[in-house]
């Protein structure tokens, strides 16, 4: 039953001495089917610092990765998305660290120098922009600076601080000329009394006025100063070109090497992460993990090939510790992955239980189609599903797996559409093969109740099968989710039928006796479990408390049997609501255009789109609700671990 049961797993423990650590790690990481367990808690070394060098190497590699990332970014080299060069585990990261150091220093120096020159150019250009309005003034700059009674500060400051700057200067007479450079920065010229020089400098500083750095010895008219600055900018730009060329040269010569190192570091960092999962025996390492049983022989053969001191222990399924949780691997065809996602959203199946994916593949479209029965709308859904699953729409590729869910729901909707006689909401186009939901409500509701009873019985049967797989015999027979529960449910249905259907011939007394027996079985389930498994006391908290608890649990079982069964009435109710909503669209269309003009068809199209989108969503939610709460909760335990083996061939 490959679709129902997960792949069989075996647990392997590998014991090996330190000299094989890299080979073993590389082997298990590259095979692509070994899932390790973190057993680093196992540590019986004499000296806990014995293999501390491995931890130190791991830490150094993490630092190396950060350095490499920074250097690649500074050289504007994208992080490689594929392996460059031959992959080897780094055993001595100092070699690469030392080699990288000289490259990193060059890159860093280039980067700092480039930024510094850019900053200087920006500064000079800022000064030039500031002086630009005064370029025609044949005025000596030093004359402005060296007045006997006047002190001036020329600079750039945040525009947002100018008003506060003015407020802060209110204690002295001053003139502030401002010229916005951008919405963030403004050029300012502050003129004030020379005897307030210190105050002006301090205040300007606190207002973030960056005084322009025109050296005192710069003399001459403003046009002369501007020309001098323009020449300096040109010189700096020439220096920048040289630095950019050096950067390009460095990038050209070092890209391959840096990318290769990055690949190696990435690979090694993963290997050291795996090593951190290992346990430490007195003189060796211990690795534990899971391998599919059909790969066990290949796996052991490969490990044996590493060396004679590599020892393996295999625990088969029946030898596993009670607390061991084997990972769950189920191979599913692409078409079922969307349905599997619906299951795993609830929970990952436990190793020792049936995977309900295949059942959901049948029941989900069935319930959806019964509630959303329409030949035309179903066809639209099916086509939309096919479009999604074809992956032709780039934006919707991530939803491709759900395309098959939509297609299946659409096809079943079409079948129910034929049964209900409905196409795009038109009820009179053809005669219903089975019934018309609006005209035969009671029959529809009773049918859905019966369908619900079948699904609930199926859930109970699955619960019994799961108990058999777990070898949980007591629960299989006595619990509410076991044979006793199933028989009780059937007997109750029989009793109800015998009361409402005179033709139901099954003797009522037999049913009543069956119900009593089932009740007694369920009430004694815990007692029998304690008896069989030799748990004491037999009656937890005394017989009276045991009886009261069992009574209320039984009461709860009765309530849930009733509520779960009635829950399926919603399937019929939604089928009726769907037909009703379609009628509303028809009435609206008639009101808009009794002569069936263009507006009539516009309303029909929009109404159908609304039903497909809005009601389709509500019906999906209701279907999911029925699956999760009325179906899964009966037999599905979940809580499993997904099989995600190591695979270093991945990016």
């Amino acid at each position: 039953m490959p679709l129902f049961k997960p792949e069989k797993m075996v647990r392997v423990e590998i014991d090996f001495p330190r000299r094989y650590i890299y080979e073993v790690t590389k082997t298990i990481a590259e095979l692509g089917y070994f899932q390790p367990e973190n057993i680093s808690g196992i540590d019986i070394r004499k000296d806990p610092l014995e293999d501390i060098d491995l931890v130190e190497i791991g830490t150094k590699i993490a630092g190396l990765k950060a350095d490499l990332t920074a250097s690649l970014a500074r050289l504007e080299i994208p992080i490689p998305d594929k392996v460059v060069g031959k992959l080897e585990v780094i055993e001595n990261p100092d070699v690469i660290i030392n080699k990288l150091k000289s490259i990193r220093d060059q890159v860093q120096k280039l980067s700092v120098d480039t930024d510094e020159i850019r900053r200087k150019i920006e500064e000079k250009q800022g000064t030039l922009a500031l002086l630009e309005p005064f370029k025609d003034l044949q005025y000596d700059l030093s004359a402005l600076r060296n007045r006997r009674y006047l002190y001036s500060i020329l600079g750039i400051m945040p525009t947002s601080r100018i008003e506060r700057f003015k407020q802060s200067l209110s204690q002295i007479p001053f003139v502030l000329i401002e010229e916005p450079q951008s919405d963030k920065k403004s050029q300012v010229l502050l003129l004030g009394p020379r005897n307030q020089r210190d105050f002006m400098i301090l205040t300007a500083r606190s207002a973030y006025v960056e005084a322009l750095d025109i050296p005192d010895d710069v003399k001459g008219s403003l046009p002369e100063v501007i020309k001098m600055y323009e020449q300096e900018v040109d010189k700096l730009k020439a220096e920048l070109v040289v630095l950019e060329q050096q950067k390009t040269d460095l990038r050209t010569t070092k890209t391959g090497l840096l990318e290769h190192w990055y690949s190696q570091v990435q690979y090694s960092s993963k290997l050291y992460d795996i090593i951190s999962y290992y346990g430490h025996l007195r003189h060796s390492f211990l690795v534990a993990g899971w391998v599919p049983a059909n790969k066990q022989n290949d796996f052991l053969k490969i490990l044996d090939g590493i060396g004679p001191d590599v020892l393996e222990t295999v625990e088969q399924e029946n030898e596993l510790d009670q607390n061991a949780i084997p990972p769950v691997a189920i191979k599913l065809p692409r078409q079922l992955r969307g349905f599997n996602k619906l299951v795993t959203t609830y929970s990952t199946p436990w190793y020792k239980e049936i995977d309900p994916t295949i059942l959901v593949t049948i029941t989900f479209p069935l319930l959806f189609g019964a509630m959303f029965g329409d030949l035309g709308q179903g066809a639209v859904l099916a086509l939309a599903g096919l479009l999604l699953s074809s992956r032709k729409v780039k934006l919707l590729r991530k939803l491709a797996n759900f395309g098959w869910v939509l297609t299946a729901c659409g096809v079943v909707s079409m079948i129910f559409g034929a049964l209900y006689g409905s196409v795009f909401g038109f009820e009179e186009v053809f005669h219903p093969v089975w019934l018309s939901p609006l005209n035969d409500i009671m029959r529809l509701l009773i049918t859905t109740l019966a369908g619900g009873a079948i699904l609930l019985s199926l859930a109970d049967i699955l619960s019994i099968i799961n108990a058999i797989i777990r070898k949980d015999w007591v629960n299989m027979i006595f619990s509410g989710k076991g044979i006793a529960g199933l028989l009780l449910y059937w007997a109750l249905i029989g009793l109800v039928l015998s009361m409402v259907l005179p033709s139901f011939a099954f003797p009522r007394i037999v049913l009543i006796i069956l119900i009593i027996v089932c009740i007694l079985m369920m009430m004694s389930a815990e007692f029998i479990d304690h008896l069989v498994h030799e748990k004491r006391p037999l009656f937890k908290g005394g017989f009276l408390l045991y009886f009261i608890t069992a009574f209320f649990e039984l009461f709860e079982i009765f309530i849930s049997l009733l509520s779960n069964s009635l829950s399926y009435v919603r399937v019929g109710a939604f089928a009726v609501a769907h037909a009703g909503l379609s009628q509303v669209v028809m009435i609206l269309a008639e009101m808009v255009s009794p002569v069936h003009g263009a507006s009539y068809w516009i309303v029909i199209v929009l109404g159908n789109l609304f039903i497909i989108g809005f009601e389709g969503m509500i019906v999906s939610i209701q279907t999911l609700r029925l699956e999760y709460y009325e179906f899964f909760s009966k037999f599905f335990r979940g809580g499993g671990v997904r099989y995600q083996p190591l695979n270093l061939s991945e990016k």
């Binding site: 950060a66 350095d67 990332t69 920074a70 970014a73 980067s111 700092v112 930024d115 400051m157 945040p158 947002s160 601080r161 506060r164 700057f165 407020q167 802060s168 200067l169 204690q171 963030k184 920065k185 105050f199 301090l202 205040t203 500083r205 606190s206 207002a207 973030y208 960056e210």
Partner: protein, 352 residues
């Protein structure tokens, strides 16, 4: 009733979220906890349980616990953001970017003290999907100048560049941090004008109180701890709140008692802080008092215009103050501070 349709959903969500704020009884229990294990266990019985799933109260550190409980803030911000219209979303995002600014300052401090990313990261506020600045790369760069260059295409770049020359000259982060704060609050104040009138009416009083509190405390601290003069203090404050103007800031700069000035501005705060304690401690106590004053204003925002941005902003501030109290409690329990010593610094002590 345009407001009702615009704010109906967010109003319901904010009011239900407000009902989830910790009660006085919760705070009483938390203050009675012996250590942070007990605090973690008690928090697991409150709304904070969902943020603490998977933790082991026996081994959790104060840093981890603080980070976990802070997860509630971005979550609530997203809920409110998603239920607001575009113009209000921008404002609420600006309010949330305060946490980004706190992180930015933390990262800059980390770089300045040569800390590693491993040491800086746990101190950062969890921003959830609003995480946008390259903090790890900034720390890896190892220098404030390079870190600033990494922010080239962000809204912080111009501010940082404007303060950069002072950092280079003074080798102190003070000018950078001050300018970041000033620019942020000035921006928030100006953005209020872009809100619909009904929102301006409810949001402006709250933001004004925050800016006034900042101005009062900043001015007093600059005088007391840094001995700055009047003009510097004017430049390092905003003076844009409705009740704290430049004349008050100048009084503080000239050494007038902060408590006397606060009582003149807000008469209902008279005698809230004892004058017998030292000036430094008075400052801390006034900070708490002024924050409580804002918290009370936030509470009253729920009684005023319901269909406006006011209740959303008020709730987010109340949540922030609750988390501040929890952080204070956790830190106090971690280093064994007695209840009498930390109690005066708790802001809310329960909303409900």
């Amino acid at each position: 009733m345009a407001g009702a349709s615009t704010y109906g959903v967010v109003n319901v969500k904010v009011r239900s979220a407000k009902a989830e704020l910790l009660s006085s009884a919760d705070f009483l229990k938390l203050t009675s906890c012996y250590d942070i294990k007990a605090i973690a266990l008690h928090l697991q019985e409150t709304i904070y349980d969902k943020y603490l799933t998977g933790i082991d109260p026996q081994t959790i550190t104060s840093q981890e616990l603080i980070r976990k409980i802070r997860l509630r803030i971005p979550e609530k911000f997203i809920v409110i953001h998603n239920n607001l219209q575009n113009h209000n979303q921008a404002f609420i995002d600006l309010i949330f970017s305060w946490y980004e600014l706190i992180n930015l300052k933390t990262v800059l401090r980390g770089i300045h003290s040569s800390s590693s990313w491993e040491n800086v990261q746990p101190l950062l506020f969890p921003l959830g999907r609003f995480e946008s600045l390259p903090f790890e790369m900034m720390v890896a760069s190892g220098s404030i100048e390079e870190a600033i260059l990494l922010l080239k295409n962000t809204k912080y770049y111009a501010t940082l560049m404007a303060a950069r020359y002072r950092f280079l000259e003074e080798e102190s982060l003070f000018p950078i941090e001050v300018l970041l704060d000033l620019e942020y609050w000035q921006k928030v104040w100006l953005e209020i004008d872009n809100l619909p009138v009904v929102d301006q009416k409810t949001v402006r009083p709250i933001i004004s109180r925050i800016i006034e509190r900042n101005d009062l405390l900043w001015a007093a601290r600059y005088r007391y701890f840094f001995q700055l003069n009047e003009s510097e203090i004017i430049n390092y404050t905003l003076g844009i709140g409705t009740k704290v103007n430049d004349s008050i800031i100048r009084h503080i700069a000239h050494g007038k008692n902060l408590g006397d000035l606060i009582c003149e501005i807000y008469p209902n705060l008279v005698e809230k802080v004892p004058t017998s304690v030292g000036e430094g401690e008075q400052l801390s106590l006034w900070e708490v008092e002024l924050t409580r004053h804002i918290a009370r204003l936030c509470q009253s925002a729920f009684l005023a215009q319901p269909f406006s941005l006011g209740p959303s902003l008020a709730y987010l501030l109340l949540l922030e103050y609750e988390i501040q109290d929890l952080v204070l409690l956790i830190e106090a329990k971690t280093i064994d501070v007695t209840r009498t010593n930390y109690q005066p610094y708790l802001i809310n002590q329960g909303q409900n």
